[in-house]
Amino acid sequence: MTLLEFARGPAINAALVIFVFGVIWRLFWLLFLPRAADHSVAKLGAGAAVSSAAGGFVRHMWPPREYAARTRFSLIVGYVLHFGLAIIVFGFAQHILFIRDIFGIGWPGLPTGVITVVSVITLAALIAALVRRMTNPVLKMISTFADYWAWFVVTLPVVTGLMAVSHLLLRYEDMLGVHILSVALMLATFPFSKLMHAFLVFVTRSQTSFFYSRRGSHV
């Protein structure tokens, strides 16, 4: 069995099984957790649960003016790398085929050149995020292994994907195998790492917004 066969066969399938198990386990656990009833009386003008949660979620996407200068760097880097990753994952024809293989749905892809440029920009944003995490004293202090691990498992597929396309270091088929294995590593550790924020961000931000809305504050 070649490296590519191992990656396209048992490795990616095992990773998918762990991914699905882990994500559903965590989401179910969270949704069924006991919650303390909120006995407070909602402030006058507090929005309905859904609208206040959704409104707060949208407002959270951009910092208030007072913080604009202080958060500019992380805001730009954060947006670039998140949009970049989304374009790579959902815009590259090869990745769409991978998704189609699992979910049975597909859509037209972007030209390889566009994806290559986006990948390089995304990689630069990822490196910038890491450098900031390692140099900013506060960020450095509150960072744990989990933060670096999340960075590592996201960056590895970007790097190996670029290397496979550019025929760097290994033969294409081997680097493609390494790339798929790196995706398998990301998928298998996703539910147990900070990457879970891809699902939980909707829950946490909406809930926070709802709480504050009841207390008459719009965050």
């Binding site: 069995m1 070649t2 590519l4 066969e5 396209r8 066969g9 990616i12 399938n13 998918l16 099984v17 762990i18 699905v20 198990f21 882990g22 994500v23 559903i24 386990w25 965590r26 989401l27 179910f28 656990w29 969270l30 949704l31 069924f32 957790l33 006991p34 024809a93 090869q94 990745h95 085929l97 991978f98 189609r100 293989d101 699992i102 037209p108 892809g109 972007l110 030209p111 390889t112 050149g113 033969r171 294409y172 088929e173 493609l176």
Partner: protein, 367 residues
């Protein structure tokens, strides 16, 4: 097998006997130089070396195969390739082509081995059965396994022609009932060149043999033992449909508008990006076409395990096999485990807020 095929002497003498002019030799030499990516000036030197070279004694063994490899060579579109190759070698044993049969054929092999001890090249097409002592493929009462070991013992080198002898090929595909193995899994003390392909390209077989005869040494090989001049690039990097791949223009079915426009066949399962061979450059049938040009994706036939690497029509990024049931099972187990974890948390919380359930202070703990 015609007599001249197995006569010794120099290549020049054989050509004269065949009435092949020096001009034709020069033409073939420049063709060879092009195939091997050598500078055009080297064709003169190749012609000279070839004319003076001794015809290479070759013993051709056919094992678990479909005869496609030898058909590919002998029915090559350009007869000059076939004729030329048989002028370069003295084919002392080949079951498909030789007139002799039975004991006479077997004797021919043993005589050729004795006469050219240590100097003959063994060409093998087909994989070798190894299960139960190799009894699933025999000829003249001997297993292929025995014949290979016996013949390879005094050989100069071995040329595995075709994917079966190079990597096991279709006979080695799951469940491999005969225990088929490639030559390299059995013979480990001789230089082996793998000319893979199902079938291999006639020009590649001929070019490799010509290289051996001309330069008296093995060509540079890749990590799978294949001659680099022919297997150095993958199909994808030399494919004329590549611009469509780069633009993201893919045919979705074999007869849609994209297919008619000649768009890339990646989504239809083309394995060109992971397949190394000369199809896209030399092409088949006298440079007429190759599978991708004829509208079908590359099957990856010159690569190990190509038969077991998932469907030919499944795109490369797709998984070789699905895991539908396992994934559904994982989702169900995840849901139960999640609900179970939450239930345990609820119980803990309830226990913590129930004063009657709180642990009693052990006697004397306040002292």
């Amino acid at each position: 097998m015609a007599d001249w095929m197995s006569q010794q002497g120099t290549v020049g003498e054989a050509l004269t006997r065949q009435g092949i002019s020096r001009r034709s030799l020069l033409k073939y030499s420049s063709y060879l130089a092009t195939l091997l990516a050598l500078p055009p000036t080297s064709s003169q030197a190749i012609a000279q070396a070839l004319a003076g070279a001794k015809r290479q004694s070759v013993i051709w063994l056919s094992f678990q195969e479909c005869t496609g490899c030898i058909e590919s060579l002998t029915r090559s579109f350009s007869p000059s390739v076939e004729e030329m190759i048989f002028n370069l070698i003295s084919l002392d044993y080949q079951e498909t082509l030789q007139a002799a049969a039975g004991e006479a054929a077997e004797r021919a092999r043993l005589e050729a081995m004795e006469a050219n001890k240590g100097k003959y090249v063994v060409v093998v097409d087909g994989s070798v059965s190894t299960r139960d002592g190799g009894i699933y493929s025999t000829a003249a009462g001997k297993t292929n396994l025995e014949v290979l070991k016996e013949t390879a013992k005094d050989a100069l080198a071995i040329l595995s022609v075709g994917t079966c002898s190079s990597f096991g090929g279709i006979p080695r595909a799951h469940p491999n009932p005969t225990g088929a193995e490639p030559v390299s899994a059995i013979i480990t003390d001789k230089p082996i060149i793998n000319v893979s392909g199902c079938p291999p390209m006639p020009e590649v077989i001929a070019g490799t043999i010509a290289y051996l005869v001309t330069f008296g040494k093995l060509p540079e090989l890749d990590h799978l033992g294949r001659p680099k001049p022919f297997f150095g690039d993958n199909i994808h990097d030399r494919c004329y449909r590549r611009p469509f791949y780069d633009q993201g223009k893919f045919a979705k079915s074999f007869d849609d508008a994209g297919a008619r426009e000649g768009w890339c066949l990646y989504e239809l399962g083309c394995k060109g990006p992971v397949t190394y061979n000369a199809c896209a450059t030399i092409k088949w049938n006298g440079n007429t076409s190759f599978p991708i040009q004829s509208g079908h994706g590359c099957l990856g036939c010159s690569e190990p395990n190509f038969w077991d690497a998932g469907s030919f029509y499944k795109p490369l990024p797709g998984r070789m096999t699905g895991a539908g049931e396992a994934v559904l099972g994982a989702a169900a187990v995840g849901a139960v485990a999640g609900a179970g974890s939450a239930f345990i948390a609820r119980r803990r919380k309830a226990a913590a807020s129930d004063p009657s359930a709180s642990p009693s202070v052990p006697e004397g703990a306040d002292q």
